[in-house]
C-alpha cells in the first residue's frame, strides 16, 4: 500500500444540529414535506388565481347600470340568457371554435415533419441548429409578427406578388396568422414526444414489413398523441381568446375575444364580458378534461 495511509478512523455520528433534527423529522413525516412544498404554489394558484377567476365569474351573475357602467349587484341570469338567445353570440362562439380547431390542425400538419426530422433524422448538430431556428420567432414581438402578416396579406402585398391572389383581411388571414404565431408551441411538445419514441420501435415496424404510412398510423401516431394533445392545448386556447390579431388582419370579422374585449371597453359591461369569459373557461376546462385522459398533461 505504497503512499497511502489508510487508517480506519472511528467515524462518529454527525452532530445533531437543529438542521439535522428538522431534516430527520421531515423525513419521518412525508405529509409535512408535502404540505410545505405545496403551500406556496397552492396559495398562489389555488387561492389567488382561482379566487380571482371566481370573483370574475360571480360578476357574470350580476348586471350593469347601462349608462354609467357600474356593476349592479343584483343576482340575475340575464347575461347568460342574452348569450343564449341572441344568434350573433352563438355565431361568434362557433366561429371562434372553428378557427381554433383549424389553427390546431394547421399547426399539427406543419409541425410534424419538422419535429420528426429534428427528433429522428437530424444529426445532433443540425438538431441544435433547428431548435434555435424554431425558437427564435418566439422572441420577436407578437405585434410585430402580426403586422408583418398584415403587410403580407394586403393588396399588392407579399402573397399577392408571389401567388397572384391574396386572402386579404379576413378570417383566412386571421387563421393563417394565428397558426403562424403559435407554431413553436406545437413543435416543442411534438419534438419532445418524438424524442421519447424509441428508434427500435420504428425499426421493428419496418422489419415486420410495414410501409412508412402504416408505421406512421400504427406506431408513431398513437405514441405522440399525448404530445399532440399537449401542443393543441396551447394552440386552441391561445386562439380562443385572441383579439389583437383579429383587429390587425381580421378585416371586418370578430371573434370571442373581441366581443369580450368590446364589452369591457365599449359597454363597460363587465358582467356580460364575464359571462362570455365563462364560456371560454367552460370550453377549456372540458378540453383539458378530455385531453387529460390521453396523458397530455404529463407531456407538456
Amino acid at each position: 500500500m505504497a503512499g497511502s495511509h489508510t487508517a480506519v478512523r472511528a467515524v462518529g455520528l454527525p452532530r445533531r444540529t437543529l438542521l439535522r433534527r428538522s431534516s430527520a423529522s421531515l423525513h419521518r413525516r412525508p405529509w409535512l414535506r408535502l404540505g410545505g412544498l405545496l403551500s406556496a404554489p397552492l396559495l398562489w394558484l389555488g387561492v389567488a388565481y382561482i379566487g380571482s377567476l371566481a370573483a370574475l365569474l360571480v360578476t357574470a351573475f350580476w348586471s350593469t347600470d347601462t349608462f354609467t357602467g357600474d356593476v349592479v349587484r343584483v343576482w340575475t341570469l340575464d347575461n347568460f340568457a342574452q348569450l343564449w338567445q341572441e344568434d350573433v353570440y352563438r355565431t361568434v362562439v362557433l366561429r371562434t371554435l372553428s378557427v381554433a380547431v383549424l389553427v390546431t390542425v394547421l399547426d399539427a400538419l406543419l409541425a410534424f415533419p419538422i419535429a420528426f426530422y429534428m427528433a429522428k433524422v437530424a444529426t445532433p448538430r443540425t438538431q441544435k441548429l433547428l431548435v434555435v431556428a424554431v425558437l427564435m420567432p418566439l422572441w420577436a414581438s407578437y405585434l410585430v409578427k402580426a403586422y408583418a402578416w398584415r403587410i403580407m396579406v394586403s393588396d399588392s402585398g407579399v402573397i399577392e406578388s408571389v401567388l397572384g391572389v391574396t386572402p386579404g383581411f379576413g378570417l383566412v388571414a386571421a387563421t393563417l396568422t394565428l397558426a403562424y404565431l403559435w407554431l413553436p408551441f406545437m413543435i416543442l411538445p411534438l419534438f419532445a414526444g418524438l424524442q421519447r419514441l424509441p428508434d427500435s420501435l420504428l425499426d421493428a415496424s419496418e422489419d415486420l414489413g410495414a410501409r412508412p404510412g402504416r408505421t406512421f398510423r400504427s406506431v408513431v401516431l398513437p405514441s405522440v398523441l399525448p404530445a399532440l394533445a399537449a401542443g393543441s392545448i396551447f394552440t386552441f386556447s391561445l386562439s380562443l381568446g385572441d383579439y389583437i390579431t383579429v383587429e390587425i388582419v381580421g378585416g371586418t370579422s370578430q371573434l370571442l375575444g373581441n366581443v369580450v374585449y368590446d364589452n369591457i371597453g365599449a359597454a363597460n359591461n363587465l358582467p356580460f364580458a364575464a359571462a362570455m369569459a365563462t364560456v371560454t373557461v367552460a370550453v377549456m376546462v372540458c378540453y383539458l378534461a378530455a385531453v387529460r385522459r390521453t396523458g397530455a398533461l404529463d407531456n407538456l
Binding site: 396559495l43 354609467t68 393588396d155 383581411f169 359597454a267
Partner: protein
C-alpha cells in the same frame, strides 16, 4: 394546512364583506335631477383653488394630442409644460372612446381628452369632476359655440375645457374613385362600385353616421338627431350597416390602420379624420376629402379631470396650458382640427390653417352632428318614446359585425 385555511378564510370573508358593504347599485341614482342628457350627474367635488403642482401627471389622450417629441422631435408641447410646471407627464394613447372610458375606470389617469361619445358616460359614472373654469384663465378665449354644449356640460356646469373640434369627412382615392363622390351612398348602398374596398370606423358611434344618412334618404323614419334613435330607427340603421358590411374591407380603429389600408389599395373610400387624410397625402397617397350632401358627423373633444385624481393641481395647469393660444395652435395644427381658442388662428404656422378647418365659420361648425352619447331620454326632446342608449348601440354594433 392551517395557514392556508386561515388565508382562504380571510380572502373569502373579505370578498363577502365587499359584496355586502357595497349595497345597492348606482342605477338607483337615476332619481336625481335630470338634465337634457337624461341622467343625473353624481355629486363630485370641484377644485376651489389651484395649489402647487404635485410633480406628476398621467394623461390619457387621442394619439397626437399630447406630443412629447417621440413622433417628431420638433413636435413637442409636453416637455415645455414639464419644464414650466414641474409636473412630469406620462401619456397613454387610446384608439376609440370606448377604450378611453374603460381606461378611465382604472383610476390611473388624471386628465383625459374625451369626445362627446365618452364625456357623458364619464360624467354619469362619477369618473370625472366638474371643472371650475374660473381657475383656467385661458378658458375665457375659447369660442362661445363650444361652451355649455350638451356633451361637455350638465345644467350649465362645465365638466371640462374644449380642445378643438373636427369632422369625419369622406376620404377617397382620387385615382381609383371617379367621378369624385358627393354622397355617402358610395359607402352605404349595396350596389356601390367600390364594394370590397370600403372602410368604416370601428365603433358603435358609427351608427350615427348611418342614421344621418337615413335622415336624408328615408325621411319617413322621422330621424331628427342621429344620436336620438328609438328602437325602430336604430333597427333601420342596423339594417343599413348590415347591408354595408359585405362591402367593407376593414373597420379601422387607428390612423395607422386606415392610412396603411389606403396606401396598399385595400381600401379606396370611407369615413376618416382629417388627420388621417393629411398623413396619407404626406406619404404620397392620392387622397382627397369631401363633405357629402347628407352631412357629416364630427366631434369636439374636452379635456376632463378625473374625480379620483391625485394630481389635480397639475391637471388644472395642463388644462390652462393646452388651451393657451400658442399651444392650442400647435396641438390642433398638428392633429388637423379647428382650435377651441380662436386666438390660436394668428399663431398657426400655416396662415390658412383656420380657413382650411373652418375654425371661425360658426355656421359650418353648427352643421356638424357632433359625437354625443345616446341616452334613454331622447336628446331631440321627444317624450313619447324611449330612445336607445349607448349600451343598446354596443349590442347593435356587435350584431352588425356578426
Amino acid at each position: 394546512m392551517a395557514v392556508t385555511s386561515v388565508r382562504m378564510l380571510a380572502t373569502l370573508s373579505a370578498l363577502t364583506l365587499a359584496i355586502a358593504a357595497c349595497g345597492t347599485s348606482g342605477g338607483d341614482e337615476d332619481t336625481g335631477s335630470t338634465s337634457g342628457g337624461g341622467f343625473s350627474a353624481p355629486d363630485v367635488a370641484m377644485l376651489e383653488e389651484v395649489g402647487k403642482g404635485e410633480g406628476e401627471l398621467n394623461i390619457l389622450a387621442w394619439p397626437g394630442y399630447a406630443e412629447s417629441g417621440q413622433t417628431d422631435p420638433s413636435v413637442d408641447w409636453v416637455s415645455p409644460f414639464e419644464d414650466e410646471t414641474g409636473c412630469k407627464v406620462n401619456v397613454k394613447d387610446f384608439g376609440t372612446s370606448d377604450e378611453a372610458v374603460s381606461l378611465m375606470k382604472t383610476g390611473e389617469y388624471d386628465v383625459v381628452s374625451a369626445s362627446g361619445d365618452a364625456s357623458l358616460r364619464l360624467i354619469a359614472a362619477g369618473d370625472v369632476e366638474p371643472v371650475n373654469t374660473d381657475l383656467v384663465p385661458n378658458y375665457a378665449d375659447v369660442a362661445d359655440f363650444l361652451k355649455d354644449r350638451a356633451w361637455n356640460s350638465v345644467d350649465g356646469q362645465m365638466y371640462g375645457v374644449p380642445h378643438g373640434w373636427g369632422a369625419n369627412p369622406l376620404m377617397y382615392n382620387t385615382k381609383e374613385v371617379t367621378p369624385a363622390p358627393d354622397s355617402w351612398s358610395v359607402v352605404f348602398e349595396a350596389d356601390s362600385p367600390y364594394a370590397g374596398e370600403i372602410t368604416a370606423y370601428d365603433s358603435p358611434i358609427y351608427i350615427a353616421d348611418a342614421a344621418m344618412y337615413l335622415k336624408e334618404t328615408q325621411p319617413d323614419l322621422g330621424i331628427e338627431d342621429p344620436y336620438a334613435l328609438d328602437e325602430e330607427q336604430l333597427a333601420a340603421a342596423v339594417d343599413l350597416l348590415k347591408q354595408q358590411r359585405p362591402n367593407v374591407s376593414e373597420y379601422w380603429s387607428s390612423a395607422t390602420q386606415e392610412v396603411s389600408a389606403f396606401r396598399s389599395g385595400d381600401t379606396v373610400v370611407g369615413t376618416t379624420w382629417q388627420y388621417n387624410a393629411s398623413l396619407a397625402q404626406s406619404k404620397g397617397t392620392p387622397v382627397k376629402t369631401v363633405v357629402p350632401e347628407e352631412g357629416i358627423t364630427g366631434w369636439s373633444d374636452t379635456w376632463m379631470v378625473a374625480a379620483e385624481s391625485e394630481h389635480t393641481n397639475c391637471a388644472y395647469m395642463w388644462l390652462d396650458w393646452i388651451v393657451s393660444p400658442q399651444i392650442n395652435a400647435e396641438a390642433t395644427e398638428w392633429f388637423g382640427e379647428a382650435p377651441a381658442n380662436l386666438a390660436a388662428c394668428d399663431l398657426a404656422s400655416d396662415e390658412n390653417f383656420c380657413d382650411t378647418y373652418h375654425a371661425t365659420d360658426e355656421k359650418y361648425a353648427e352643421s356638424i352632428y357632433y359625437w354625443n352619447t345616446p341616452v334613454a331620454e331622447c336628446l331631440d326632446g321627444r317624450t313619447d318614446v324611449t330612445c336607445t342608449d349607448y349600451s343598446d348601440w354596443t349590442t347593435a354594433w356587435t350584431e352588425v359585425k356578426g
